[in-house]
């Protein structure tokens, strides 16, 4: 446990995490809680059954404003921004000319001339450079506003009831992947019905100096401390929740070596929307077919697959695990991996090389977990 060579970045909730017993780790240069005293499993289960609270203020925010905002973002991302209406958001990707992924992101449309891009923490600077570098003669302004926003995710079946008394926004009128501007505990905020857990819930964006106020208010409203109350959740639970929900994590399932089609993200590839970076490569790959594909698997033997381990099919090493972990709610050991397309068949038996031992697994459908609606 040596001292970090460079000063870690801190979210406005850093002190709150430490006071609550959060175990802090270096996450892509950020000093973040990996878990709280309740532990990862309890945090995960509580989010599935009640509510969990996540500090995701490390995420980056890039504002794009001006008459050409939509056409510009449409040119650098794969989903069709022209389909968004005011108050709507979508999942998308910044793509390379090869159709691989610079980053995955959310695009929020406030107005035709005002968009907000929410990007991963570890890639914020890379994304900023990429986006700024892609800019041509468009009439627009770009602002890296990452240090102006805090972002707090309230997730789980109780989320709506917890947030309701604290906000003037009519939550039940916000559809999934829509958002509204209003107040949370009297503080100007963006309330977005989005998340990374597979549960219903909201992500609240507000000014950094109000982060602690909102965080504490949500914990109180969620009866933190009660057996069935809300729990603050660390990065470990955030990861197991998203994995159960079959969602990609940048740097694991997707990066600059994987195309969107290989990663099962064809649904955010709008090849007919007009030109965008990587469109040609993706259109070509769609015709020629992909040679490998991201699959989900669950272990059929005792053992836990981990990131980077080899996938073995018919005695041949054919791919790598991108994420592997216990799934606390499903009580199984699951993972995702790239395998050759011709072998990517649901139900097929595979093996994972777990530190030198071949452990049996089976290809299954993703998402592993889907909430009842």
């Amino acid at each position: 446990m040596t001292a970090p060579a460079v000063e870690l970045k801190k979210t406005p909730l850093n002190e709150a995490h430490r006071c609550m017993g959060g175990r802090m780790v270096d996450f892509g240069g950020w000093d973040m809680p990996v878990q709280y005293p309740a532990g990862t499993i309890e945090e995960h289960l509580r989010t599935r059954t009640r509510a969990g609270l996540f500090d995701v203020s490390h995420m980056g925010e890039i504002e794009v404003t001006g008459p050409d905002a939509i056409s510009f973002v449409n040119r650098v991302t794969s989903n069709d921004v022209s389909k968004l209406v005011d108050g709507q958001a979508h999942y998308s990707a910044l793509t390379t000319p090869e159709g691989t992924v610079v980053d995955d992101l959310l695009v929020y449309r406030f107005a035709a001339h005002r968009l907000l891009l929410v990007v991963n923490a570890g890639t914020t600077e890379k994304d900023w450079d990429w986006i700024a570098g892609a800019r041509g003669g468009e009439n627009l302004e770009l602002r890296n506003a990452s240090s102006s926003y805090c972002q707090i995710a309230l997730q789980g079946p109780d989320a709506i009831e917890i947030l309701k008394p604290l906000t003037d926004v009519s939550l039940s009128d916000i559809k999934y992947y829509h958002f509204s501007e209003g107040q949370v505990d009297g503080v100007a905020a963006i309330v977005s019905r989005t998340g990374y857990t597979g549960e219903d819930g909201f992500e609240v964006y507000a000014a950094v100096d109000r982060a602690e106020q909102i965080w504490n208010k949500l914990l109180d409203a969620g009866r933190f401390g009660a057996d069935d109350g809300i729990l603050p959740c660390g990065l470990a639970a955030r990861n197991t929740l998203r994995l159960e929900a079959g969602m990609a994590l940048y740097g694991h399932e997707i990066d600059e070596s994987t195309t969107l089609l290989e990663a099962n993200l064809g649904w955010i590839c709008k090849l007919n929307k007009g030109d965008f970076t990587g469109r040609e490569a993706l259109a070509k790959q769609k015709v020629s077919g992909i040679t490998r594909r991201l699959i989900g698997f669950e272990m059929t033997d005792r053992g836990i697959a981990r990131d980077g381990q080899d996938v073995v099919i018919n005695d041949a090493r054919v791919g790598k695990v991108t994420s592997g972990s216990p799934a606390p709610y499903l009580k199984k050991n699951i993972g995702m991996a790239y395998v050759p397309t011709e072998l990517a068949n649901e139900g097929a038996a595979i093996q994972i090389d777990v530190r030198g031992r071949l452990i049996g697994a089976q290809i299954v459908k993703t998402p592993f977990y889907k909430r009842a609606r």
Partner: protein, 130 residues
């Protein structure tokens, strides 16, 4: 503050040893289980397997990570705690009792004298934390 019982011996790899004649009962310390977080899987050797001191005899997995567990002494395994297959959480809840991992017949019982005392181990974990 981690619990460090006085009557045990400790390794710098965060295992404890309870001496029972020429048999060493081995597990991981409270400090170790707390650092790992929720233990979800324990891989243990078989009775009869032999290990040298500081050799890995198994692994403990939390949700997030895998850690090897090292034998603090040289000898052969006479019994493993197979109840950890179904209840790995015992390692978290009772690291010095129900969470024990293996019983090793020691080749040289005096070897335990080279391990840390409770007070020494406490100082060691404090230093490691800083």
């Amino acid at each position: 503050m981690a619990n460090v019982p006085d009557n045990l011996h400790y390794s710098k790899d965060h295992e404890w040893v309870r001496v029972d004649g020429d048999v060493a009962i081995v597990g991981i310390t409270d400090y170790a289980q707390n650092s790992l977080g929720d233990v979800v899987y324990v891989e243990l050797p078989k009775a009869g397997d032999e290990f040298a001191a500081h050799e890995a005899f198994g692994s403990v997995e939390s949700v997030k990570a895998v850690s090897e567990v090292f034998s603090p002494v040289t000898g052969s395994v006479v019994e493993v705690n197979s109840s950890l297959n179904d209840e790995p959480e015992k390692v978290n809840n009772e690291p010095y009792e129900a969470g024990w991992m293996i019983r090793v017949k020691m080749q040289t019982p005096l070897e335990v004298d080279s391990l840390l005392t409770a007070a020494e181990y406490e100082d060691f974990t404090k230093a490691e934390k800083e």
